[in-house]
């Protein structure tokens, strides 16, 4: 089937097999290997990207379902040479070690902070509960998101809501 998907603000029209999963489309056809194919069973969350306004596990989304829609991946989090506060928080607070789960963690955290600018540690854990990290024990991930929340409240960061029509 022919699809047009806007990924990180750029529209891509491609012919894809109906069975092709979104994670494989992003990684293998567009070369965006920041999103990771971890468990293939919706358990680990390493493949999380945004589909329109919502984080989804892209190993459980058919590429055809993304037709006409917008996708945000980790590669689209940095804007105008400036890291998202979430990205900066993960680096500052040691919210990662091996880095495999990090893109999915950060995209879900971005969504959380867009909806709740001052989440408690419990709310952060709840939001990230669909995602697995085998390095950090989660403590520093919670700290990273808290750091980002505080940072964006102080610098007026407007969040990363996707503009209508695919422009970002």
């Amino acid at each position: 089937v022919q699809i047009t998907v806007t990924v990180n603000g750029t529209a891509f029209t491609r012919e894809v097999e109906p069975r092709l999963l979104l994670i494989h489309f992003l990684r293998d056809q567009l070369g965006l290997t920041g999103s990771h194919w971890g468990c293939d069973t919706s358990n680990c969350g390493a493949c999380v990207v945004w589909l329109d306004e919502v984080p989804v596990k892209s190993c459980t989304v058919l590429t055809a379902m993304a037709d006409g829609r917008r996708v945000l991946t980790v590669e689209g989090m940095e804007r105008n040479g400036r890291l998202d506060p979430v990205q900066e928080g993960f680096a500052r607070c040691h919210g990662l070690q091996c880095g495999f789960c990090t893109p999915g963690m950060m995209l879900t955290a971005r969504w959380l902070l867009d909806h709740n600018p001052d989440p408690s540690p419990e709310e952060i854990r709840e939001a990230l509960s669909g995602q697995v990290c085998r390095c950090t024990g989660y403590e520093n991930i919670v700290r990273s998101v808290r750091w980002a929340a505080q940072q964006q409240r102080s610098d007026g960061h407007g969040g990363h809501r996707l503009a209508p029509g695919g422009a970002q």
Partner: protein, 88 residues
């Protein structure tokens, strides 16, 4: 303990070199690597949890026009490679 902990220098937190690429999705994990002529591999395991291998029939796989190689335990044994890489 009277001195406040140093936030910089030898005892302070030091940014990790690798985080700059990890938080941008620019790490290179094994599955991210693309090389010219790269092949895909698939491992076929016994459907039985505890059984004796009587025979492995590879003819159908070898006859497939896009299969480059079929490697069995027997083939590895003939090359002296049929060992388990464990630390035991």
């Amino acid at each position: 303990m009277t001195a406040a902990p140093e936030r910089n220098g030898a005892y302070g937190p030091i940014p990790r070199k690798e985080d700059a690429r990890f938080v941008r999705g620019r790490g290179t994990f094994v599955d991210d690597i693309q090389l010219p002529g790269m092949l895909h591999g698939a491992i076929l395991r016994s459907p039985m949890a505890h059984a004796r291998i009587v025979a492995v029939d590879t003819t159908a796989a070898e006859a497939h026009p896009r299969v480059e190689a079929v490697i069995t335990g027997q083939a590895l044994a003939e090359l002296g490679l049929a060992w388990m890489p464990t630390i035991s």
